[in-house]
């Protein structure tokens, strides 16, 4: 009975294993009782939010640049700030031993954050 539930499949295992990974993390995130996880969970949460803000700022900055209303000096300042921000994030990720994947917030219809 089970085997003939697939009516059409042009995929390869890679696609579906990602799907599985998501399901796995969806279920795992509901279980937060383990005290060992609390600390790293907190760091993850905080860094994810910071990363979210950083990406939003980056987008905002690009939009302004595209808009053409910024001066040379303003753009330099912007570049410097964003660069420093990104470097800082990389440092923090290293300290807490988190990868980009770990920080990925699934925002539903907005798709993956990163």
């Amino acid at each position: 009975m089970k085997d003939d539930k697939i009516l059409f499949n042009s995929g390869s295992p890679d696609e579906f294993s990602e799907e599985i990974g998501k399901l796995k993390s969806k279920v795992e995130s509901r279980i937060n009782a383990n005290p060992d996880n609390v600390e790293s969970g907190l760091a993850k949460l905080v860094l994810t939010l910071i990363e979210l803000l950083r990406k939003l700022m980056e987008k905002q900055a690009i939009r302004r640049i595209e808009g053409g209303s910024l001066t040379d000096g303003e753009i330099e300042k912007l570049g410097e700030t964003l660069m420093k921000l990104e470097m800082k994030m990389k440092e923090l990720k290293k300290i807490f031993n988190l990868t980009d994947e770990d920080l990925n917030l699934n925002l539903g219809p907005l798709g993956d954050l990163i």
Partner: protein, 70 residues
């Protein structure tokens, strides 16, 4: 490879089934519900999903290391 397509399809089907049975369907709450606590069910969910994940991971690893060729 016939055998692996079969395994792959079986795993897809198992996952679809488990996702439905554990995450969808009509939900019962209130005083009349007893015994199986939410946490148990979630735990069950993780174990079931994890065992499916493991199988898929094995398939994935096997493909990467060239043991199985697709």
């Amino acid at each position: 490879m016939q055998e692996n397509i079969y395994d792959r399809n079986k795993n897809i089907t198992i996952l679809e089934v488990l996702d439905r049975v554990l995450n969808k369907g009509v939900v019962l709450t209130g005083d009349i519900v007893i015994s199986v606590a939410d946490i148990d069910l979630i735990y069950v969910g993780v174990r079931l999903l994890l065992s499916s994940v493991e199988t898929m991971e094995k398939l994935k690893t096997a493909k990467k290391t060239g043991i199985i060729k697709f």
